[in-house]
Amino acid sequence: MSRQFSFPSYPFVAGFFLTLTNLIAEPSDEMLDLQYHARQIIAHKCWKCHGSERDEGDLRLHTRQHIMDSGTVDLANPQASRLLQRINLPEGHKKVMPSESKLPDDEIAVLTKWIEGGMQWDGRGAFKEAPLAPRYVPPIEGSPYVHRIDQHIDRYFEQNGIAWQPLVGDRIFLRRAYMDCIGLLPTKEEANAFISDSSPNKRRALVSELLSRKKSYQQHWQTFWNDLLRNAYTGTGFITGGRTRITDWLRSSLMSNKPYDIMVNELLSTNASSRGFIDGIKWRGTVSASQSTEMQAAQNSAQVFLGLNIKCASCHDAFTSNWSLMQSHQLAAYFSQSGSVPIHRCDKDTGKVATPKFLFDALGRDDDDASANKNEVQSKPENFQLKTDLTVNSAHYGLQDKPEQQIDVSQKIRKQIESGSYIISSNNRLVDSDSAPRKKNVLVIDMTYNGIHLKKIIRQNEKIDIVKVIQTEQRLMELGQLFTHRENGRFSRTIVNRYWSQLMGRGLVFQVDEMDGLPWSVDILDDLAYRFVEHGYDIKWLITEIMTSRAYQLPSVLSTSRKTLSKTDYIFKGPIVRRLTAEQFTDCFSQVVKPIYTHKGKVVRASDNPRDTFQAALGRPNRDNVVSMRSERGNLLESLELTNGTKLDSTLNEVAKEVYQQYGNDVIVYIADLFDRGLGRQATQRELELLVSIYNETKTSSGYYDIIWTFINLPEFQSIF
């Protein structure tokens, strides 16, 4: 299937979009909602029998053309449309459609309205798609700005009649930079040093210095990546061994600033330390076909790395995108040990099978190596000589969570592996094994095959065929190459947009998981993505590039609702105010007031601590699904946790006593210090009066308790602006 794009190239859109919108009526949100919903009803309720793959009664309804050709719809006289007549028959009538259950009234109303409105079906029987290829955007000659982002912003502002605002002062920049690079507040000394520094490049130098604090950087960004890769320390699946963590892999990747393309290649492999990502969450018992672990891997890798939603397409041809049932299964097949997956439609086996094929034909088509590899892995190579090709470097038993606590396997098992026979583990024991200890429930094999180094963890109750393991690994290596292909512009645009969204409060494309959406600046997105690749997929380069732009240093912009932010006519004027994440809030509290989590006397960063009631109430999600945006709204449960939750209460009680002992009636000194460290400013006279008045009521530690409580609940403390 060749893929076309509804807008041929970005420059076209970028250059003419403003004028075009005046000339061509873009479908309104409401019309699009109606259209999507109508098509969804048809997809869900009709395609089972009348879709792309079935045509009962010679009727197919999966494209507008098919509907029109069938004659079931009469646009001139909508009420005479057979489609509408059939769905309007009374329940139980032998001709009512759908035959198994009549559509609810509201769905009939949607279809009627849609047909009466001309049955709009935008796109080529499908939906808007962003271009795949990367695009080089040349620097703007004669621009007053050197920074490439600012060159584009400058032009953008000019086109939109916006004037540059003066950049934020050092205090605000300092706080932003600290929160965004390492998720901590500057100390007094750090703040003073920065503010008194008169060097013109000090902001860039600060970003660079902060990003070089490897551990703090890792601890802060761990949160974002844990959410995105749904890596949790506790959660579903763990109880029955159906899930593995990738925490250590993620930590070391962030510590070493591993290039993003390498990260993704590793995530899309059976690497022992990162395989938790593609292995997904396995629930005991049977699950729907659209949630098989292979399908989870396909859904998550498409969503996370390419900003593509194929969740709908894993059940039936999608109705909000162009992805088909076949394509989602073809992607899932890469992850399957057998190299193929049975195709299920709405959980029913179609009897067909999908073999690996990437979502985008254009990639790797001219790449002979890749296609040759593909053919090779589809069938077992004839001369496959495991005995000579495979070397087991080490094999040992370990625990699910600590596979490195090893106990070597017997020579017998080692021989079995090398001879390529099946290894079956069950009930915590490897069959035929005489050395597997009961409580060591995984087998870790480190092997080399044809120069490919593989580390494989075999969990209990897993049936492993070493030949297939190696074939799967080869398939996944190929897949990794396709995902991270230099011609795959989606790959770099998706991550660039995620970071923009994290740092600026709103993505270039608003929905960070739906990269077919139109960016508010095509040039910035393409340019950043292109240069990100040129810079070796260096994530710290990307952060630096965004944070050193004047765009990042603009005063923050207030938003009236998330909805206004999401609008397609959104105009960038500066970063959006952001609320601290649960982890940032906790860490800042720990810094300024008293450590909330400690281990052996040392402060534990929130991201290293499991999700508890306190974190959950503050919005740290359970990571059963990919989370790419935290909710920014307050809610009652969170507020109650902050009002009388035990975790906060006990910490405040302790600290209030300590502070009272130390400061006694010198309450002003403490308040000044609190403001200095927590907000980087002095308290105003009025603020001082108010807080002192709380203390003066009792002149005991409870006064300090209430002062601190009031302080940490100030929106100024809880946001980045």
Partner: protein, 509 residues
Amino acid sequence: MKRKHPVDIMILSGRSSIYLNFNRYFKSNIVKIISEWIVMDRRDFVKLLGTGTMAMLGAPSPSRAFEVKHDLSRATADHVIWITMAGGMAHTETFDPKVYTPYEKGLHASKVLSTFPSIPTSVDELYLSKGLEHLAQVMHLGTLIRSYQAADLGNILHTKHQYHFHTCYQPPQSVSVPHIAAWVSHEIGGINPVLPNWINIGQQFVKGEKEELKLFHSAGFLGAQHGPFVISDPRKSMSSVNPPPGMDISRFERRNRVYREMLANSPVADVLSDYQIESFQRSMQQAYALVKSPSAKAFDLSQETQEVHSDYGESKFAKGCLMARRLVEHGARFVTVSTDYIPFKGWDTHKDGHRTAKKMKETIDRPIAQLIKDLERRGLLERTIVFVGTEFSRDSMIEGRLGQEVRDQAQTPNSLSDISHYGMHRHFTDGISLLAFGGGFNRGLVYGRTADERPCKVVDNPIRIDDIHQTIYHALGISKGTHAFTEQRPFYTTPDGKGKARKALLQSA
């Protein structure tokens, strides 16, 4: 919008508009409490209603493709008390007794259908299992469903079936799925705006499948504002709605006053008009209002007399039922009460099933019966659904369902050599009994039937979870086809919107 009645209050939730006719409450006792509360707390009430309505107007809830109209004037229920017999309650040992086979050494498990004799009830020809004497006396007030069939989900994992029971969706799902209570909160909001819309009592999240439990005790993509207010132990519930220990109410009020003045005098006050910060301030104010409000007393069981306490009983579950009654009196929308699922505890009998079932019946019999009687006496049962459910049933022989048997998990031999081998030790997903009282459910109805011989599966009027959920939505006036958009696709209250209200269960449909 036109006001139909001077005391009508319009609540806007998402894009659906609802008329809540306060007049209707004047017929029941609840109005006294609500109107008292209005009088006592009038200023805060008006303020809250104001900000609450504003909040909802501005709330970015998942949008809809079309307006869903809920017709609350046709609703037969306003409140739901959703009680779960967590761990799998055997129907043949409780609400659907079969032939009683007393224990004797050497007896084979296949000979055992019920380990208790039957007792008569307040409904002619209806028999329950011995040990449910109190419930037997209230059966004329509700509907007994004997034909619930759970899904086939393979090798049994309780929380997987519980997830399905509570959300109507089989796990895992590619998006975070809302609990039925969260849907109700999202669609029709609360009644008393001070109380959380969904209050969840009795379930702990500390042992066993705790993460799986958390997954469906959630509002999912509808947003945390519709999530559960968790009271793990109702005997210690006041700490949830009181100021922190050691803080008296005047100090609490003073702190709040200073806090608000700090906001008003902030040098960065302009930033505070951002919607995120506004919504945070609003919810801080809501938390303050709840803690300070007389409605918080709903959580205070010490307000009840010793007599009432002993009518309900002393167990944690009993206190949960009592609290549910108090909460409904104070205008709570949705209260969930659980016997507390902990693997191999409570109803989860992998061994010693007979003696455990006896104990569990003691745990639930009085409290639920007393709750029903109490609600009925106070005129609240008419508008309150009390639903008693369980994720599946149990059997002494069949694991899973006949024909679809799965990995055996019983811990006892089939040839009984000890009393601890006697009972229902396997998970059976058919023939499940459920109870539904009040809120428009029929009185004295027995719906569905199971076979009298093994397998004791449904032989008449089978019902699945989709229809059960839809029947409850229907009673609450929540329209069929209700859905919300997530990730650009509509997600329905029942899968694909296919659930149908089972009208035979309802008094008038």
